[in-house]
Amino acid sequence: MFEELLEDVAQTNGLRETSTWLKLAAGLSAIVLCLLSTGYAAPLFIALVLSAAILTLARVDLRTYAELFLVPLWFALMSVAVIVLISGGEHVFWNWDPLPFLSLSVTRESINTGFFVLCRVIGGMSALLFIALTTPMTDLFVVMRKARVPDFVIDLAMIIYRTIFFLLDQVRQIYHAQVMRLGYSGWKESVHTFSVLCGSAFIASWDAGDDLVRAMDARCYDGKFALLGENRPVELRPLAALALFLIAASAAVVATQGMTLL
C-alpha cells in the first residue's frame, strides 16, 4: 500500500556530505547526455557508472535499488512494444494489418529504435535515481533559492515537504487500524474502506493546515522562512571524479553515435 520515500535513503546515504552542486551536475548532465545520444551504448555506459556510484559510494543496498526500476521498466516495456510495432522500416520480420489505417510490423529498424529508447530510459532513470538517492530535498531547497525560484514557491514547497511526512505517518496508522479490523476483506469493502482512508487523509490535512497557521503565528510569522545557509563546499576529489565521468560519457556519446543493436 505504501511506498517507501527515497528521501529517507538520501538523508543517510554515503554521499550525503558531498557538495550538492557536484551531485546535481553529475545527475543533470547525465540526463542531458542520455537525451543527446543517438546510439544505445552511451546511455548504458552512463547507467553502469552511476549505478556503480549509487551502490558503492552512496552505499544504497542492491535490492532497494533494483526494486526502484520495476515500475518504470514495466511502463517502458509496454511503450517500447508499441514503438516496435508501429515505427516500421525496410527489413520487415513480421507484419499484420488488422485495420485499414493500422499497420503493425516488426522490422530491424523498429527493433533498433525500441532498444535505443529502452536504453535511454535505463540511462535516464539511473541519473534520476542518482540525484534522488544521494541528494536530500532539504539540500535542494538551497539550490532552488540560488536558482532564483521565487521565495514563496520555495516556502510552499517546504511546507508541502514537511506536511507529506507527518500526514503519511497518520495515514499509515489509520490504514493499519483498518487492516486490524479486517477492512479490505473483499472488493466492495476495499473500495469503501479505501475511500474512508482517503477521506480521513483529507480531514487530517485540513486539521494540519489549521494547526500550521497557528504554529506559524505563534512564532511571529512575517512571511519569511529561514534557509540553511550554504551547502558543503566543492572538494577536489569529487570534482575530479565528476570531470572524468563527464569527459568519458561525452566521449561515449560521440564515439557511439548512431550505433544500433542489429
Binding site: 517507501e4 535513503v9 543496498d61 532497494t64 497518520q170 496508522q173 489509520i174 493499519h176 487500524a177 483498518q178 487492516v179 486490524m180 479490523r181 479486517l182 477492512g183 476483506s185 469493502e189 474512508v196 482512508l197 477521506g199 480521513s200
Partner: protein, 392 residues
C-alpha cells in the same frame, strides 16, 4: 494453570534497512493473564505488539496462537485478527467513521455478520464500555476518554479472546485513566487476556500480573511487578523509573525496616507496613463494614434511601455504569478511583462504606477484601445491599 494463548519463540525482526527492532524474544501469555510490556520509547514495544495479530511477521522465530503457529495467508490472518483485538494508542487514528454506531460496526460488517447480528454486537459492545445511547453521535465531538471507549467497543464487537492495548491511558486525565483501567479489569474478569504496552510504571506496577521489561528489542526481565521493578539495574537499563511506593519501601529496607516478602503495591499495603513497624501491630479492634451494591440488579431509588439512613457513610463507585447510576440517583461519591483499597483503609479506622459497582465486579470486591484480611490478620465483613434493605 490456564492454557497458553499467545507465545513467541525466539522471534527477530528488522525493518527494511533499519536497525534490528526485535532481537530474539521468547515469552508466553496464559489465558486470563494481565500482562504489562514496559519499556522506553523505541524499545520495540509497538513492533512486538503488532506481531500479536500478524500485522508484522517476524523474520525468524515463530509466533503461536492457541499453541498453533501463526499462518500468514489471508484467511488465517482474518481469524487471528478477530481473536486478537488491538486498540491503538491514539483513538483518532482508529475511529474514522462518521458516527459511533458505524465505527463500532466496522469490524462485524467486515466479518460478514448479518445486519441483525451487527446491530446486536454493536449494542452489546457499547453497553459494555458504558456508551449506550451514543450510537448516533459523531466521534469528533466526544472527549478523549469517550473516544478511547469507542475504539475499545469497536474491537470488543468482534468478541476477541485477547485484547492488546498500546499505551491505553496516554492522553487521558487521572479519572479517565482510572475508569479505563477499571474497564480492563472488568474485561479481564470476564475471561479476556489483557496485554498492555506502556512506559508508565506507576500504572503497570499495581495492575499487572506479570511485567515484561523491554529495552533495545530484548526482554531484560520478566517477572511479577515487585521483582521486575525492584531491580534498579534493570530499571535503569530500560530507561524507566522505580514506582514511588517500591522506591520508598526499598529505602526503608536499607534503613533496617522490615519489609515482608510481597512488596507494597498500594498505599494500603504501605500503611500496613508502616503501622506494623511503628506500633508493632496492625490489627484493629473494631473495623467497619463494606457494603457492596450491584447497580444492575438493585431497584431504582434504593441506594439514595439507604445512604440517607446511614449517615457518615462514604460511597465509592467502580466502573462507568456505577458512576452513571450514582449521577442519575444523585448519590454523592467520595471515592471514584482505587475504591476497594480506600474502603478497606476506612474500615480499618472503624468506619463504614458503600461500594456501587456492577456485574462481575461485585465478586472482585469480596476477593480483594478477603485477600487483604488473610494477609493482614484483620477481619472486615463485606455485605451485599439488596433491594429489601432499603431502610434497614
Amino acid at each position: 494453570m490456564s492454557s497458553i494463548v499467545l507465545e513467541a519463540r525466539d522471534i527477530r525482526y528488522r525493518y527494511p534497512r533499519g536497525q534490528e527492532a526485535i532481537r530474539g524474544i521468547s515469552f508466553h501469555f496464559r489465558r486470563g493473564e494481565k500482562i504489562a510490556l514496559v519499556g522506553p520509547n523505541g524499545a520495540g514495544k509497538s513492533t512486538l505488539l503488532q506481531m500479536f495479530n500478524g500485522m508484522i511477521r517476524p523474520d525468524s522465530g515463530m509466533m503461536l496462537f492457541d499453541n498453533r503457529p501463526m499462518e500468514y495467508d489471508r484467511a488465517s490472518l482474518r481469524e487471528l485478527r478477530r481473536k486478537v483485538g488491538f486498540v491503538l494508542q491514539n483513538p483518532d487514528r482508529q475511529i474514522i467513521a462518521p458516527t459511533v454506531y458505524q465505527d463500532v460496526a466496522f469490524g462485524p460488517t467486515n466479518l460478514g455478520y448479518s445486519e441483525a447480528e451487527v446491530r446486536e454486537s454493536v449494542t452489546t459492545a457499547l453497553r459494555h464500555v458504558g456508551l449506550a445511547g451514543f450510537e448516533r453521535r459523531p466521534p469528533h465531538q466526544l472527549s478523549g476518554g469517550e473516544k478511547k471507549r469507542v475504539a475499545i467497543a469497536g474491537v470488543l464487537a468482534m468478541d476477541p479472546d485477547v485484547l492488546v492495548f498500546d499505551e491505553p491511558t496516554s492522553g487521558l486525565d487521572p479519572s479517565g485513566s482510572e475508569d479505563l483501567m477499571e474497564l480492563l479489569d472488568e474485561l479481564n474478569h470476564e475471561g479476556k487476556t489483557i496485554v498492555i504496552s506502556t512506559h508508565d510504571v506507576e500504572l503497570a506496577y499495581p495492575w499487572a500480573d506479570r511485567v515484561i521489561l523491554l529495552a533495545d528489542g530484548q526482554i531484560i526481565k520478566e517477572d511479577i511487578p515487585d521483582v521486575a521493578f525492584g531491580n534498579t539495574k534493570f530499571v535503569r537499563m530500560a530507561h524507566l523509573s522505580v514506582p514511588t511506593l517500591l522506591e520508598l519501601s526499598a529505602e526503608l529496607e536499607k534503613r533496617g525496616f522490615f519489609i515482608p516478602g510481597r512488596k507494597p503495591r498500594s498505599v494500603l499495603d504501605m500503611v500496613h507496613i508502616i503501622e506494623s513497624q511503628a506500633r508493632g501491630s496492625c490489627c484493629h479492634p473494631a473495623p467497619g463494614t463494606i457494603t457492596v451494591c450491584n447497580v444492575d440488579t438493585i431497584a431504582p431509588g434504593t441506594t439514595p434511601l439507604w445512604v440517607q439512613a446511614h449517615p457518615g457513610i462514604a460511597v465509592g463507585a467502580m466502573g462507568t455504569r456505577a458512576k452513571q447510576c450514582a449521577a442519575m440517583e444523585q448519590v454523592a461519591l467520595e471515592f471514584t478511583y482505587g475504591v476497594i483499597d480506600k474502603c478497606i483503609l476506612r474500615a480499618l479506622r472503624g468506619k463504614d462504606s458503600l461500594i456501587l459497582t456492577n456485574g462481575s465486579m461485585v465478586g472482585r470486591v469480596t476477593e480483594r477484601v478477603e485477600a487483604y484480611c488473610k494477609e493482614s490478620g484483620n477481619v472486615i465483613s463485606v455485605a451485599l445491599l439488596e433491594t429489601t434493605d432499603r431502610l434497614s
